[in-house]
Symmetry: C2
Subunit: 184 residues, 2 copies
DNA sequence: GTCTATACTACGATAGAC
DNA sequence: GTCTATCGTAGTATAGAC
């Protein structure tokens, strides 16, 4: 073969990286296959050596992103680490940089509209994350509630036009979550 | 004029209704002008007698939807009404029918990516809603936190593949919010 | 105001050369 | 594996008839 097996893997990784970034920034449906490939210096036609359709790429992006979210946010028996994760998650830098942030607030609606196989994947990783939080919090219910609140806070903050209000949303959620954790 | 002034208003309303519905169901960017017009029995070309661009329609949809959300969810000095609103918001029927539900979970990401004028509009109505809740709850912070949590719970639930988990997410958020309200 | 027709661009996807 | 070229469709938007 004219290209090493490693080259294909590397190209695939570059494509996944670049696609995830642009999807979180601009939405997956609004970016074309041509644009995705051009972003990594390749032509549009080369796309189909890696994925048989754009939908298949979306599934791979979601899987990869949510696995990464679990790595970043998952905790084990460490309440302080959870607090630090929350602080980082509910930060202005996260609000202002969806392209490097968590896929759940950025792609949530698109995942919700995608086919059952993708949603099954999403469910798997979301549950893993919830379970890790539930173990630390010693409450299933609280873990789901806090997970929802974090994602919601980012969605809300990103809709707002003024930075001060965005900060208010983030701080409010962080404060109320802290209260919930303390009183649990 | 061959068409009454009222006819234009009625057509515009039908278009807004239909567009809101399909945007909340399938995303605004994924629906074409042609499809939107065909849905109300008109041709694509007729669109531009009502809006000068698709973006202008999006601004109108957002304004209309968020005003409606405030009407539905806004409260005044009535803690019980807020509880009932939350119960309804955090219901399976809301999860399963984005097309008739709140625009914030369904279009949040798209609003976040839209131009500052749209986000300014969104901010206005979101703040109105938050303020009405804050008055009842006697806490600005709690109002923002609960608002975020409600929207997040819907985003999360809609991503999940199995109904039992969706119910768990809804119930968890409702229960934890109830606790927060009771203890405030 | 709505229609048909059209211009122009972009989309997802495929075929064949290298 | 990547390229160029291309097919077929669909996108936004405009022009002119009614």
């Amino acid at each position: 073969m004219r290209y090493s097996a490693n080259h294909k893997l590397e190209t695939r990784e570059k494509l996944l990286d670049s696609s995830s970034t642009s999807a979180k920034k601009s939405g997956f449906s609004t970016v074309g296959v041509d644009g995705l490939m051009k972003a990594i210096g390749l032509s549009g036609g080369a796309f189909y050596s890696h994925f048989s359709s754009k939908d298949e790429l979306f599934a791979a992006v979601v899987e990869r992103e949510l696995r990464q979210s679990l790595e970043r946010l998952g905790v084990d028996q460490d309440r302080d680490k959870l607090q630090r994760c929350l602080k980082h998650y509910l930060s202005m830098s996260h609000v202002e940089h969806p392209e490097t942030g968590c896929a759940l607030p950025a792609l949530g609606a698109e995942i919700a509209r995608s086919d059952p196989m993708v949603r099954q994947q999403a469910e798997h990783w979301i549950c893993e994350l919830q379970e890790s939080w539930a173990q630390v919090l010693e409450s299933d219910s609280l873990a789901w509630a806090i997970l929802s609140q974090c994602i919601g806070a980012l969605v809300v903050a990103r809709m707002l036009a003024t930075a001060e209000l965005q900060q208010k949303v983030l701080k409010s959620s962080y404060d109320e979550i802290s209260r919930q954790i303390a009183g649990s």
